[in-house]
């Protein structure tokens, strides 16, 4: 299976390449009021309005300054039985790699700084560890709700 890899806060992540539609440069994002901070807003993707998520904020990492390398990976995500197109803001897109099932290990319960529900497994590429994401889970509606509830007190302040 092939995976698209990208970097977030020094860690390398991977998603199923079939899930990713395209990679676009960072462009002007329109913020939508009354929405959690990790939901950056919406962009114009060739005439379609597509929501963009800051994966750093979604994973509880610190917000980063945007650089030349900052990109939006546009993915097909299954949310509540419906496939929606979502852009994800990442620090930089790396490469597309091939990984056998045998090269993927189950995720450790601790030490990833991440909700293990999001993780399909850990891959190894040379000395570098890859965190393979289950991107549908990342965007699963329950998860969104939790985040929204958590963000609500802040929003109503």
């Amino acid at each position: 299976m092939e995976y698209l890899t990208f970097k977030l806060d020094g860690d390398e992540f991977a998603v199923d390449v079939l899930k990713s539609r395209e990679i676009v440069d960072l462009r002007s994002v329109t913020k939508v009021p009354q929405s959690p901070e990790f939901m950056l807003g919406v962009i114009n993707l060739r005439g379609s309005v597509v929501p963009v998520i800051d994966l750093r904020l979604k994973f509880g990492m610190a917000k980063a300054e945007t650089t030349q390398a900052t990109s939006i990976v546009v993915m097909d995500v299954l949310v509540g039985g419906e496939t929606i197109i979502v852009g994800t803001l990442v620090d930089s897109v790396e490469e597309v790699i091939e990984l056998d099932e045998s090269q993927i290990e189950p995720s450790p319960r601790i030490g990833t700084r991440l909700n293990t529900e999001f993780i399909k497994g850990m891959g190894k590429q040379g000395e570098q560890f890859l965190i393979i994401l289950d991107i549908d889970r990342v965007f699963s509606s329950d998860e969104l709700l939790i985040v929204q509830n958590a963000a609500d007190p802040a929003a109503s302040e």
């Binding site: 939508v32 009021p33 114009n44 005439g47 309005v49």
Partner: protein
Amino acid sequence: MMDQYAETFREETIELLSELEVGLLELEQRPDDADVIGRVFRALHTVKGSAGMIGFDAISDFTHEVETVFELVRSGSVAVSAELVNLTLAARDMIKSLMDAEFGGQPIDPEAAEQIVAALRSLVPDTKEIAPPVEAGIEATEPEVVEETTYHIRFRPPANIFHRGIRPLALLQELARLGSCRIIAETDAVPDLDELDPELCYLYWDIILATVHDEDKIRDVFIFVEDDCDLKIFAINDDLLDAGGGELRLGDILIQHGDLTHEQLAQVMSSQSKPKLGESLVQAGVVSGAQLDVALEVQAQVKRQQQKRQAIDEASSIRVRSEKLDSLVNLVGELVTVQARLSQTADGQDSPVLSEIAEEVERLTWEMRDHILNIRMLPIGTTFSRYQRLVRDLSRELGKEVQLVTAGAETELDKTVIERLGDPLVHLIRNSIDHGLESPEERQAAGKNPKGTIFLSATHSGANVILEIRDDGGGINREAIRERARTQGLLTSEMETNDTELINLIFTPGFSTVGEVSSVSGRGVGMDVVKKAIDSLRGSINVSSKSGEGTTFTVKLPLTLAIIDGLLVQVAEEIFVLPLSAVEECIELSREDVASANNKNLIRVRGEIVPYLRLRERFDLDGELPDIEQVVVAEAQGQRVGFAVDHVIGEHQTVIKALGTMYKDVKGLSGATILGDGTVALILDLPPLVQEAELDERELTDSIQEKMISFQ
């Protein structure tokens, strides 16, 4: 492949069933109308035929039984009765259920179908004698469009026709009513003036008539003069055309009329050097100029008829899947966006050539947009039949006499709007029958017609369609609403409400004034659902009512959901779009104005005090407040509300894009649109914004009151 046929069958059958329903309801009013009986029969026949072809035998067999009865109705051996209409309506519903079952719906209890069949059979005098109707075929037995035939009529009345008190003009006028008619007066028999007897008729006429009627009908016109006059009627049929290679030859016409013999024609033809036969014939003296004119006119008429037929063929409609239209609308939306960018770019280039191209593209884009949106428009009348049935069934169930009067069936609305309007309208009509109209006894006691009336009308008003659902019932009981509102805590006894506010309380969730719950309505789920559905169509609903005279619900809807006229405004760095249809005016708001209103969010608009809310505050936007703000005054929630913004940029044709699942919980936004420079702007949904602001204010005043109480 089969699926595709099946899908087409389903679409067609749904249409036919609604035709059938309309027909049956009309039959109830006019049981003897042969046209309607014919329509009902044809609908049944077509359903049966196409169901048979596709292999849905259950539908085909069942419909066959119903059709058999209507075959007899058509031939006059069975009369239309209320029972027949009832049974056939039940049969219609059964066909629908049978079809749904074929498409994976609930299976049907065969006994129910058999009961209907048995009941239908019992209406027929002697079942054995029934001849099976014409076997299943796709063609209906009667052609849907009756073809026109062209006749050439030569009418030469006797010279003394005036003496008999007959006016040839009246005859010609009567003839003209049969179809499209060209009349040529032949004057070759008119004598010189000194020989002319003014009491005699010297004229005769050649008439070319295109009509759907047959020859007998034409002869009927001349019934009183036929015996003494010279009347010739020729049908100009397609055989003649075929012989002439698609075009009717002049010589053939003249021969057919008896103005020319074959020999004469052959003679002239053989000596003819000029290409024009007509002129040669006149020159040869075998045909008069007038006879030639008539023949030429016949030729022209036939040509017109052919063209007309062709036009009918070409204008015939095609069936397109609605998804294809939806994607077309999306594409045009993108085109509109790109065109806006092009215009913006061209403006900045100072190039006349580019500007010209941009303008041309703009013109074409708008034209295309209008046409495509127009394709999606359907007359709302297609849904009216559904309500006729509803009213009929409900009035029986509730023991009330009700008639539904509709107007404006031809008013066109976007397909999606019509589809999503169905349920709210059903609810409103139910409500009117159940709550609005009184029982026949009560009506009689009040001096009204025991039969209640519900008016359903649709009219265009600018970019909106106004629907009115009006009943002539008892009106809304204000006291009941007040009472109910108090028990539900919506009103406190000291709270003042004006009449409009009071009756609009019926749109509050969970509100119902009716003590007893009927199967029809009164369960408190209703008006709020209606309001929500209308709101989601970006429409509004209002109610007005006069005690004893009735209640009117007015629903205002946008023509289309895809594209709206918007007003672009800027707040801090953000650009928003307000629906222009709601905007009334824009006024300036200076710091002094704010100070003079004592920092309350109120502004004076030509003597009226209008509250406003700052978008900057509602959306938590930073940035400098400009010295002079703009307040966009708009209508929302049935009141005038201002929206304070930094700048008003201008109008914008707004292609509405959904914000999608991820933002579905955000209130006050109805979507997004793409601006000329490619950025995304959010479209404001005014009613929820106002609602939220009202809620916040209420909480604020409540907490202030609490504080004051604790202070005391």
